[in-house]
């Protein structure tokens, strides 16, 4: 998720939110890179969903992306899960 494709992800998420979803799960299993723009996108979506009484769940962070989430402290602030199943079955906080 860099400057080029982050707007696409944001657009997709906002479209789902506009359709009425208030909880989104992002499977980041195939994500190999995340820039500051990508991180800001995650934070913005999480904030929007929280404002609607829902939440953003992110799962299967790998390698550098996992490290970046850990280092920036976003792993502690956003809801991050090991597997897609645990993200899907998690209870809302």
């Amino acid at each position: 998720m860099d400057a080029e494709n982050t707007p696409q992800v944001e657009k997709e998420c906002n479209a789902r939110i506009a359709e009425g979803s208030n909880t989104l799960i992002i499977d980041a299993g195939d994500l190999s890179y995340v820039s500051s723009m990508g991180l800001r996108c995650f934070v913005a979506i999480a904030k929007t969903l929280k404002g609607k009484g829902g939440e953003l769940r992110i799962c299967r962070l790998q390698g550098l992306v996992n490290q970046v989430f850990e280092i920036t402290g976003l792993k502690r602030s956003l809801r991050v899960y090991e597997t897609l199943e645990s993200a899907a079955s998690a209870r809302k906080e």
């Binding site: 820039s35 500051s36 723009m37 800001r40 913005a44 929280k50 490290q67 920036t72 402290g73 976003l74």
Partner: protein, 337 residues
């Protein structure tokens, strides 16, 4: 307490505190903790006490200048004494952004004005409500505004021109003195002066806050990407192909392998802490909660150990690899609070 007394107190003390509260509300990042605001208010009150003594001394010993002193001497003395604390905050990287420096500067001026007005509340018991409106909305807010302008001009010069020392702080202090001296010239009626202060200062602050937050956002994104790329390089073993890696390799003959290893670890750790601080900023920008991180304490212990192990000479050698701007130093301060 009589109603007229209450009115005097409200007009004398509340406007400047309301203005200060407004500035804190306007700040999206909320990086100035309440204890820092209280410390700045206290520093301002102490500055007012000191200036009272200096001004009294001057009036007693140089009565022939009693007309000129309030217009030129007092602004120079008062802004210099007030500047001691905002210069300290900026020089020690306690504040590194224009918004924060404006809030702290204003709080120092507010503390100054509060003590001054408390003294005047006793001294001018028979003064009308108009006097207190002018003192509360005009003089008090001017005191805050002048110090705030001095502080954010200094941060701006450090950011945009990389000026340090006298070049960084001199123009800010001079600007604060000019603002204060202009107010004291009596070119406008006291009521008009108060109106000008209450209309011009908010506009200045809104513009400064906007510019500062834009600049902070750009810096945060740009530097975070650099941090992420550097961490990726270190993790993948490609670090030695980077300019920083080449520099570290060039130290091969000067330092033993274990010290060079510590240098690389230090670079990795400071980059991690830098990215961590930007993660905090990102969450604050979005108005989200930043949970406490107990692991940070260990990181700072490790940082101290590495600095000690590398030694003063090694630290000098590794300095080009480490970030040294005021904002970079601020990141470490921010996390260690």
């Amino acid at each position: 307490m009589r109603i007229d007394e209450l009115v005097r107190i409200v007009f004398a003390l509340f406007p400047v505190l309301l203005f200060l509260t407004g500035l804190r509300v306007l700040d999206s990042y909320k990086l100035v903790p309440m204890r820092m605001v209280l410390a700045a208010l206290t520093a301002g009150a102490l500055a007012a006490g000191l200036c009272y003594e200096i001004n009294t001394f001057f009036f007693q010993h140089f009565p022939q200048y009693s007309e000129q002193y309030p217009r030129f001497g007092a602004p120079a003395v008062e802004e210099t004494v007030k500047s001691v604390y905002w210069i300290f905050l900026i020089a020690t990287s306690e504040v590194a952004f224009m918004v924060d420096s404006a809030i702290c500067g204003f709080a120092i001026g507010a503390g100054f004005a509060l003590l001054e007005n408390i003294v005047y509340l006793h001294a001018l018991e028979s003064a009308s409500a108009t006097v207190w409106i002018i003192r509360g909305f005009g003089t008090a807010v001017m005191h805050g505004g002048a110090a705030a302008i001095g502080a954010f001009v200094s941060v701006y010069l450090a950011e945009s021109r990389q000026w340090r020392g006298v070049r960084q702080f001199g123009p800010g202090l001079l600007t604060a003195m000019l603002v204060h001296a202009s107010f004291n010239q009596g070119l406008l009626s006291p009521v008009s002066s108060a109106v000008v202060v209450m209309t011009v200062l908010p506009v200045i602050f809104v513009v400064v806050f906007y510019i500062s937050e834009q600049s902070l956002g750009r810096w945060m994104s740009g530097k975070l990407d650099q941090d992420i790329d550097l961490l990726a390089m270190i993790a993948s073993g490609e670090f030695k192909t980077t300019p920083q890696g080449a520099y570290l390799m060039s130290l091969n003959d000067a330092f033993p392998p274990e010290v060079r290893g510590d240098m690389l670890t230090l670079l990795h750790l400071t980059t991690e802490l830098s990215a961590r601080a930007k993660g905090d900023l990102m969450l604050r920008e979005a108005g989200m909660e930043v949970p406490a991180d107990p692991e940070l304490e260990n990181s700072f212990k490790e940082l101290k150990y590495l600095q000690k192990s590398i030694g003063p000479t090694g630290m000098l050698a590794v300095r080009p690899l480490l970030k040294q701007t005021p904002r970079d130093s601020w990141e470490i301060h921010h996390l260690s609070r």
